[in-house]
Every structure is written in C-alpha cells, then in structure tokens.
Amino acid sequence: MSILSTRKADKIDSLAEGGTSLAMDALRRTFRSPVAILGLVIVGLFVILAIISPFIAPKDPYRPYPELQSELTPSNIPGPMPGFLLGSDQNGYDFFSRLLVGAQQTLFVGVFATLIGVTIGMIIGGLAGAFGGWVDSLLMRLTDIMLSLPSLLLAISIAALLPGSQWTVIIAVAMIGVPVFARLLRGAMIAQRSSDHVLAATALGVKRKTIVFRHMLPNSIGPVIVQATLTLATAIIDAAALSFLGLGDSDWRRAEWGLMLGNAQELLSVKPSLAFFPAIAIIIVALGFTLLGESMRESLDPKNRR
C-alpha cells in the first residue's frame, strides 16, 4: 500500500471516529455525571455479588443449623454469634448467608420480569408502530386498558389467578411493564416513520421489513433501554410488595430479598433486623438502577445535548 493511500485510510478512520453516533454520544455524556457513575457502581457491585454470593456465603443458606435452632423460640430469634455474623432467621437458617445469596434471586426476579415485560411490550409496540392504522388502534386500546388499572392491582389480579410460585411473581410484575414499553416503542417508531431517513429509504425502494428492522427499530430503542433500567428498580419493589400481600413465592425457603422482607413482617417486635436488612438491600439496589436510568434519560434528552 502506498503512503498516500494509508494516509487516506487513516483519515477516513478518524472521520468515522469523529462522527460518533447519537447513542455513543449519549453514552459518553451519561458517564460524565457522578450520579450515573454512582448508579453504575451500585448496579455493578450488585451484579457481582449476585454472581459470586453462592461461593462466598460462609454457611449454607438453605439448611437449618442446630446451634441456631436450639435457641429459637417464638419470642427470641438468636442475634449475632460466633460463625453466624447476623445470627439466625425465623427458621434457624444463617441470616447473613441468606442475605448474600438473596442478591442472586432478587436479580433473577428483576431481570426476568423486566425482560418479559420488554419483550411483550416491544412486540405490541413494534407491530403498532410498524403497521399503524387499525392494528395500531386495536393494540393501543389494549394497552390503554392495561394502563387503566393501577399497576399493583394489575399484578394482583394476575397473581391471584396463578399458584404462588416464583414465576407467578415474575409474570405478574412483568405485565405492569408491558403497556409502558409498548407505548414507548410505538411513540418512538411513529416519530421515526415521518423522519427524513425513513422517507429516503422508502424512496429508494427499500423493503418495508428492512426499513422497520434496520432504520426504525435501532433508532427507537434508546428510550426503551432507559425505561428498562428504571423498570428493574420498580420490578424488585413490586415483587416485594406482592410477597408482602401474600401473593409471592410460596417457597418460603428461597432466599430472595422481597420474600424475606414479606415473611419478616410479623417478626418486627422480635428481631427487626430480619426486615431491615433485606429492605435496605432492596432500597440501595433500586436506587442504583434509578440513578443509572435517570441519568441515561437526561443525556438522551436532546435538550441536554452539549
């Protein structure tokens, strides 16, 4: 290759780098703010904890320990003692290990509830946005109805139909997000439909399928990702609320923060920490996702582009 052509290639590369896409630009701006970094750190630590907790938990979280059980009475739940950092829970299990492992189950519920909500919502919103017309009207009436129930009530009416299992909770919580994601994606796609680059692609004779998947969807996905981050926070809180109402997972042995909090409600006068620690964990994680989502939203907002 001649020197000249290398220079040219370099120049093209640098041009490509200079013209960052909207998404990259937004991402860069997001991580300039300390709030976003704090959110990212919290979320990152939570995910790491969720992955490694089964290996670092000092005791087996799914087995009662005789030394804890022997001191367990209706009015006394043993506090910290040697080998058991936070003492026992109401069943003679190691509370500290359960709290650690709880990160995994909580992340599981949050992620799957959000993923299912995003998937169904995006299918509905995508169809409505891509086709318009009566498909749009019909699907949007459907989401209107889902939005016409207060969110928790929607989850309650679904959870009350199904047997109390972890998947019931996940599905019930996922349904809260469906209309939100559907409306969001539809709105973004309709805005795309009348944009110049879609018009150009149509004029060039690009197939509708290609336009939808290559031009409209990728440009509409930003708000959905932001909303998904925020939904992760509310999904974890809503799952806890369902457990609190007795519509949660019927497997009381499972170490999940919402379930642990829901099951500790009768024990506040005996050992308040059984409720406080899972609750604080939920609050910190929810805060982390909210901080991250909010700062992403702010940087995606064209008004804030600098």
Partner: protein, 334 residues
Amino acid sequence: MLRFTVRRLLQAVPTLFVLSILVFAWLRMLPGGPATALLGDKATPERVAAMNAVLGLDDPIFVQYFRFLGRVLTGDFGSSLITGDPVMEEVSWAFPATLELSAAAMFLAVLFGIPMGYIAARFRGRFLDNATVVTTLVGVAVPVFFLGFLLKYIFTQEMSLLPPSGRQDVLIDATRITGIATLDGLLTGEFDATWDAMLHLILPSVALASIPFAVIVRITRASVLDVQGEDFVRTANSKGLTTQIVRKRHVLRNALLPVSTTIGLQTGLLMSGAVLTEKVFAWGGLGTLLEQAIQQRDYPRLQGLILLFATVFVLVNLLVDISYAIIDPRVRVR
C-alpha cells in the same frame, strides 16, 4: 369545552366496556371455574353442578356476559365469601376510610411537595437542590410498606408517641355519620374523637404520601426550571416588574400546569399504595378488604374491588384531562 368533555367521556366508555369483559373472563379463567371459586375448594360435585345451574353457566357465553354486565351496572357484585355480605355494602362501608387516608396523604404531598420543588429550582445546583433531588430519588426507591414499618417501629415501638394501628381507639365511642373519622368528630362535636383519629392518621398518611411527594417535588422543580428560561419571563423582568411579581404571576402560575396533571395522576396511583399502607396499619379500608380477599381467595369480592378500582382510576384520569383542558385551552382543540 362541552364538546371536549363529551368526547373524552365517550372515550372512557369503550375502555370500561372492554375492562368488564376482561374481568368477566378473569373469573372464568380461574382453576376449577367460577362455581368452585365461589363455593371454595371443598365444594362437593353436586353443589358445583347446582351452582353452575344457578349461575346460568349452561347458557351461551355472551348471554352470561350480558347478565353479568346487567348485574354490575345495577351495583350487584354478589356476596363476599368471607362474610356473606353483599360486596357493594362492604365497599361502601370501607370506602370513607380509604378516602380519608388518601386525601390526607395527598394533602401532605402537595403541601410540602410544591414548595420544596420550587425552592430546589430556585437554588439550582446548590446544596439544597442536590439534597432535595437525592431525597426524592430515595423516596421512590423505598417500598411504601417498609416505610410504614419503619415509621411504626420508630414512633410506636421505640418512642410510644403515636398509636400503632387502626383508625380510632377502641375506647372512644364515636358516632358514625360520614364514616370519615376526623370529620365525624367535628360534626358531632366529639373533639376527642377527632383528635384521636388524627393521631391515628399521621403515620399511615405520611407513609402513603412518600411517593406522590417525591414525584410532585421533581415535577415542580423541572417545570419551574423550564418556565424560568422562557421568553415571557425575560420580558417580564426587562419591563421592570419586581422579582416577586415575576415569580408569582409568571413563573409559578405557568409552572403549576404540569404539576396539576401529576397530582391527578398520582391520586389514581395512590390506590396501589393504599392497599399496602392499609395492611401495615390495619386501617380497615378498601385495601384491607382487598388484602383479605387475596388471602382467602374471595373471588366475588376481588372481582368487585378490581372493577371498582379500575372505574375510579378511569374516572380520575377523565377528571384530570378535563381539568387540564380548563386550565390550558390549547388541549381542547387536540
């Protein structure tokens, strides 16, 4: 204005109609069918068959639906499995309690939310602003029922300052007129009853107010910041109006438009929070009814409550839209 109101009312009708179909289908999706759901799991096959005949489950499905719709429209939701009382009666008995709690919570949220949001915007970027923003973010992250627990733990268990649960002390013999405990005391002149009811109201309403409060603060702040940069504010300033008049007439009045919508929407959403708060404080309102219905799988009551909550929610949204059209004439033409 009238045309807008009528159009908006007509839009609500199909929503409620489809909702009624879904709730009707919902009871039919139950494991074992509605007869088992109505009679409980231990019903004998003969009783289930008899119930099916009584319910008219042998008729075509659309005949069944219109019969259901006819009953619902006349306010007949059947009887609760727990108490045997008509659902409508239970609901009208419990409704004032929820109304009282929600109104108190909304009052607190607005009373503190708007000034805090306004102050945060005035001191944008300063410590006070950052502290407010962090507070509201934490406020949304705290589960309502856990906040209830926390308040209850601190103020009743540790400090014994306030009553832990219920709406009124059992020793107080209050006369029921409206069912709103604080109001009844005033109406009958039993001021000790009002005082006692207010003490009971403090903790639950603070817990329930947390989320609308956080949302109102954030919207007020954002909206004031928006309006502050508008041309008409600059014009007002440059023509020599005092800062006070500009803030009051030009900034605050325009900034409160989106806030009013938010307040309406949050009023609807309060119902979710009320279910949780009522459980923590054994409040005895609609939330308590719902919670019992869930525990006991009392489907007629659950069905009635879901329809009722949804109807109230749709109506509240309708009122929000109409009030918004009154405040902002531009909305009407859209």
